[in-house]
Symmetry: C2
Subunit: 188 residues, 2 copies
DNA sequence: CTGGCTTTACCGAACGAACGGTATAATTAA
DNA sequence: TTAATTATACCGTTCGTTCGGTAAAGCCAG
């Protein structure tokens, strides 16, 4: 067989870049093929299910990435503050300091019949669980921990949208800076 | 002349509903015509500039609505807490308690060449200014007031995205509940 | 080795459908 | 009649998708 022009990892990362930037409807096959560096027909060889399967695969790819780089460290050893800071650095990198949008945001638009909603919800819930665990270990009750974890996710998604709308990366930086105080406040 | 089937106000509100739900690329003219209750040709009579002009008009419509229902009350008389609560009620209604997405979010996806970015940024800045004014009157310095106003906007945008991704309206409600503590904390 | 066979990765060309957009005629209150 | 408004039909383009086919690497009997 001929050698792959691009590894599957690269293909998924480039698909991620297109979908997070233009959304599902906004990303045309021509645009995708151009960005990935393959012809449309080649994309259908890799993803027989077409555009839907590409987006699904990207969602799974992001989930695996998050599991490895975010959730495992969050659930790991060390004191809560250190683990949270590790997550924050990964989040900074993943969103390029606020320059890139969240795939969950861009792929969750559209009616409730949107087939991406469920995997997105699952991923977000997993993220929230891992954050709540850290808050619990810091001393919060289960209910309070969950509330604080939710605030962290709300802040991350919020700064991404506001930074994009205002075209101001500092909004993102400030938001990241506030996360420790949100999840692990000094009093209890 | 034949009577208008729908008032311009209605047309704009229905356009708003389509764009905030499906985004710009996701909203086809067929879908728009169906939702608005007009034929495509009628839409082009109302908006000769096509889909772009429709989205621009919706943005202006939202801006005018916000100016009247949100910014003016925010800048008006009465104590800061009362004015903020008035805004929160308007926000609740505008987003249908979290069921509807933010037009700024759905129309700001895509590259930086997106023509809607500027009006969106202007609208958000105006909103932030009005919020900062309230915080200032509550006793905060200009810098702190701006920071708190930013947190309010981040929270609103954040809960909208998270509520949509988790399909959980309570996220929105909880976020709205926290806004007074964010903009007008008890100390200072 | 070696030749043929299979498998795999990829591409050019084309498909019908839907896209955004535009003419032009029909309709209708003033 | 007239002018605003809507309806029908259609334009060229792009959409997502499919098909037939090419070429390179692995496999294995001779």
């Amino acid at each position: 067989m001929p050698p792959s022009k691009v590894s599957r990892e690269d293909v998924l990362n480039r698909l991620l870049a297109v979908f997070r930037r233009h959304g599902f409807e906004g990303a045309s096959l021509a645009m995708i093929a151009d960005e990935v560096g393959l012809q449309k027909a080649s994309l259908y060889h890799l993803f027989p299910g077409g555009k839907d399967e590409m987006a699904k695969a990207v969602l799974e790819h992001v989930h695996a990435f998050m599991e490895e780089k975010v959730l495992v460290p969050l659930r790991g050893e060390g004191d809560p503050a250190t683990r949270l800071h590790a997550m924050i650095e990964q989040v900074r990198a993943f969103y390029a300091d606020g320059r890139l949008s969240c795939l969950f945001d861009t792929l969750s638009v559209g009616g409730g019949d949107n087939p991406f909603r469920k995997p997105i919800g699952d991923a977000m819930n997993a993220w929230m669980d891992a954050l709540a665990l850290v808050a619990r270990e810091h001393g919060a009750t289960a209910a309070v921990a969950r509330q604080r974890a939710e605030r962290v996710l709300v802040t991350i998604q919020g700064v991404l949208v506001v930074a994009r709308c205002l075209d101001d990366l500092k909004v993102f930086s400030r938001g990241m800076h506030e996360l420790p105080a949100i999840l692990l406040p000094a009093d209890v």
